[in-house]
Symmetry: D2
Subunit: 357 residues, 4 copies
Amino acid sequence: MQQPRVSVIGASGYSGMELVRLLLGHYAVRLVAAGSDKWAGRAVEGSEDSVGGAIAYVPHTEAAAADADVFMLATPAEVSHELVPQLLARGARVVDLSGAYRLKNAATHVAAYGFEHKHASLLAEAVYGLPELDRTGQAKARLVANPGCYATAIQLALAPLVSAHAGPRIEVARGLFDWQRFVVDAMSGVTGAGRKATEDFSFAEVANDMRAYRVLRHQHTPEIEQGLMAASATLRDVRVTFVPHLLPIKRGILATCHAQLGDGATADDVARAFASAYKGERFIELAKSADDVALKDVVGTNKCRIGWSVGAQGEVVVVSAIDNLVKGAAGQAVQNVNLMFGLPEQAGVARLRSFHP
Amino acid sequence: MQQPRVSVIGASGYSGMELVRLLLGHYAVRLVAAGSDKWAGRAVEGSEDSVGGAIAYVPHTEAAAADADVFMLATPAEVSHELVPQLLARGARVVDLSGAYRLKNAATHVAAYGFEHKHASLLAEAVYGLPELDRTGQAKARLVANPGCYATAIQLALAPLVSAHAGPRIEVARGLFDWQRFVVDAMSGVTGAGRKATEDFSFAEVANDMRAYRVLRHQHTPEIEQGLMAASATLRDVRVTFVPHLLPIKRGILATCHAQLGDGATADDVARAFASAYKGERFIELAKSADDVALKDVVGTNKCRIGWSVGAQGEVVVVSAIDNLVKGAAGQAVQNVNLMFGLPEQAGVARLRSFHP
Amino acid sequence: MQQPRVSVIGASGYSGMELVRLLLGHYAVRLVAAGSDKWAGRAVEGSEDSVGGAIAYVPHTEAAAADADVFMLATPAEVSHELVPQLLARGARVVDLSGAYRLKNAATHVAAYGFEHKHASLLAEAVYGLPELDRTGQAKARLVANPGCYATAIQLALAPLVSAHAGPRIEVARGLFDWQRFVVDAMSGVTGAGRKATEDFSFAEVANDMRAYRVLRHQHTPEIEQGLMAASATLRDVRVTFVPHLLPIKRGILATCHAQLGDGATADDVARAFASAYKGERFIELAKSADDVALKDVVGTNKCRIGWSVGAQGEVVVVSAIDNLVKGAAGQAVQNVNLMFGLPEQAGVARLRSFHP
Amino acid sequence: MQQPRVSVIGASGYSGMELVRLLLGHYAVRLVAAGSDKWAGRAVEGSEDSVGGAIAYVPHTEAAAADADVFMLATPAEVSHELVPQLLARGARVVDLSGAYRLKNAATHVAAYGFEHKHASLLAEAVYGLPELDRTGQAKARLVANPGCYATAIQLALAPLVSAHAGPRIEVARGLFDWQRFVVDAMSGVTGAGRKATEDFSFAEVANDMRAYRVLRHQHTPEIEQGLMAASATLRDVRVTFVPHLLPIKRGILATCHAQLGDGATADDVARAFASAYKGERFIELAKSADDVALKDVVGTNKCRIGWSVGAQGEVVVVSAIDNLVKGAAGQAVQNVNLMFGLPEQAGVARLRSFHP
């Protein structure tokens, strides 16, 4: 097969930078364009050694007009919202890293993102690309909505618990949990907010500090709830109380998730749920306990590391960790492109090294 | 009244250092001894300008033998456990910053601290010194157990919610909450673990990292539950699911606490509970919402800043922040000494400056 | 004497914030206005307990019109340049924390600050306020130019070496050094650059990074050279090769300064020079060696800590450390106000606590 | 050619960890043993995908007895000192990352490392492996002494300036500099000190702090002087005043180096010296000026980035930056192994990604 030609739009944001770097190290795709108005004209570092050969950044419009098989959009949701239908209309395929096409319900979308969605049929068509939960749709998808960073960490932590069906990947005992409501406190490094030229994100304000933000109103909340209901055959009212926090570090998300065992369920059931759900998953690392999950285990890699502990009262704490720019953005997008074009899913992301020490 | 003479034991740990600094800046107490085997012989910086005059660090045993009105112990729990009865036997009063005398139940103590408690009558006698929840006992106390850092932040965040009695300080509507179980994820800077000469606490391992630890088995959990039941007139089975996290910063605790409104209760009830509980409290700062609480607001000060948000499903998120070494240790200990000796409660801690920027 | 009434202009910058906090804790001055367009209307935290009583921030123009004995300007150099003559014309006295009135030579000023100086006679009149080097002029000064942060750390490190006269404060052997050229590499935390809403100063760009900047062209270079020549009775061509670096921390300057012993001079001469120059200086701490100076010793305090080491080839390394916002800005400005109004020089800054841990 | 079999000894130190990771990603070498007493028995993460296949850590003695073509020693100097002759005696080749075999003069060695050198003939035989300065000896070397981290950054910054000969790689005009003495202030992240379980290297002591250490007595000083004299055809008394500093970051070295132009030399001569010295060097990046070199450009990569600025008085400031664990240790060691075995020099290190953001 010919190597898919990829155009990245939004190449100078943090997710876009990561995406370009991953694609340049990917033996089976050709990066044909990297769009950044800010860096237009500048050489793309490392491209001289890549499959596609040396290229320079081009303006966004030029990257959008490139002769590519797939466009990867690391653009704000508003920009993706406009751009996706135009690219699809030209017969291209798209992986969108923004939140523009993640939610199935247009009304929920408005509430989460603050702008009306004009392309409801594309919301319906878009394949939500979290491969460890569902990798069946990407191969034929025109449009893949790449999950949010928090949404990835939290769904991977909780999906084995909500899943009660006996599908091919996730087999969990019925009735494992007696409520459909989860409490999640998650913490993200500041690159999760993208490049920022504001006082609030200046070093002098962020260093040594920590805070919660968008408490009970983060835009990933409906995405997580939608994903958990999809992971379950039966649950129809999953609710997540989600509190995001800003950490004084550059990369990494740690999500601490709380659930409650159902009557008769045990710690062994939880262990079985995780083992079964993630058997053979290359990018999932199951830890010994909730204490055994640290950001340094995953930052720089495409892994999600997950550990859990069960208390005497049936309380379940699941901690998951990812690199927000890799498994939470660019790395997962590469998995999706691989699935779309029939490449090995791990191509280009399997050998990423941890940033520790 | 004569100025109380204070001896600090454990003066070279982080809490002990903070205590010495606060006492040197306190106009109404005399620091007569600062015990540190490690620094014995070295001058106590700043003591030359203090009420008590220039002193040098002395070995622990010497500080324990000092002619003092009150001994402040910043020693490990095992050391305090032994030392407290000896000091009391000599007729002195004691403020213990360790966990040795905080729990009323000796069996709970063993489970939390890992050693048998030999002085159960002192457990019963000790006054738990969290002044904003109860400042009635210190004046006559021989022994004040100074609260733990996490325990301070979390009790101050949740006590107004559990309290259903109409006591002098806390007036909360009956039935505000429909469960007695709280979920708390809290994060602490590394000084909370004390001075550490271990690889796990080395800069290269901690920087840029984050993790949960002692999940569902932190020794402050029973202290928090005991305190919340004490704050309530009626609740007898308060349970807290507590997950502590290690933050890559030096100082500060942020506690994110989850509760659920009872039938008919509203966000206004929550606001009233906090307003009523903390009216006139100098060291409590009520914020506009759960988003409005940052470590930098409190680090370096004796304040606890508290904000809350209430969701559409009745979920309540309370975020509190303190400096673990001040309000979570040394500053609160100074409040307790002030109460013990009839000094203004805020003396020596009111004017502390924030470390921001 | 009546307490001097102080108005601060530029109260929401980092130096201005620090200045306000110090003045609120100063028993002998009255803060009558704190000017900040950004925070106008907001209460000044802590003012309720201060000598001057509760105040709110006011717009800059209002602070400039206040009925004050002295105006302290924490404004950009261009703003101070305009404002100073207006305030002096009204009969007020001024301490300017900017660089607008520090250089005696107007041509040098243009080169350093990039704007023409319209008030050359005020340049001549301004007293350069580095008390440890010269505290004779402040008492009668209308205008005190408060030194720059780097300039403070570096002059305090090198002045004893250049000084060959036998003045009242600094007595150093003649001919101690055989060149008049010094090499200085200094590093500053990011608050030294003021509040920044730029991508370059965002957390994600600054954390874990370090770089040199304004190499050989920093605006403090002529200030340092001017100061060292003033400290010497005879040297007329002192040159400093100065390379500033940006550190990924919030506060603190460390300056590593290189000199060379003259013929026959010894390490003992260096020690004598420092001992003699700084005898009795409350805010100077002489360390055992150049290794014995750490930012944590001084951050939060008004101290300058200085250590030196002399090599076998006569090379001299002097390391000095200050808090850039205290001894490098607001704390030194308070010393100057104290000197201007006959108050004890250390009032309001003697008891500042270290931020460590 | 058969793939060289490599055994790493000291695999759980930071340099050793980095070395193992690099070797696992190297397509043309086989990692046959990774020696770590601490981790013995544990699987080597990532080895399952490597050329050599899955392996587990083994005790040091076992790694030293492995059937390998080359042993890479990431052990303390004392350990390497003993081990190298034993390994050579068995007919193996060795790359030693410690300082044990770097200095040619045994007396200088004792002064720098504090222990007598028993194998002077091996000191003489060892090839100093800084490929960009000399890559002629590695192909036939039995023993390569891998340079120190500071020594790498500083020699690469200054060698073009001292070199006055017209050798194959470095051509610089005669008489470019009028002294042979350089002043260098360099700063290193804490991994440069190796794994530390001491209070001094604990997070609470290092974070937000900075200091100079081993001022004028760092063990890399003679290595740098020896290397610069070797790089020059004629200079016989190069002296470097070297002050290392500890930075509160994990990785990276920035070296700020000071020199002085000779009579008649110009900034253009400096530019020519660097351009000529490093033409075609894959791992050297020449920047626009001394301001244009940041740690984030190089951390995670095998690059050395170098920029310089020349002042009006002929002062020259050269700033260089490397990752202390890659170009300053493991990455350079891989270059040396490649040269020893006739592999492309950049194999295994060319595609390393920056850790920024």
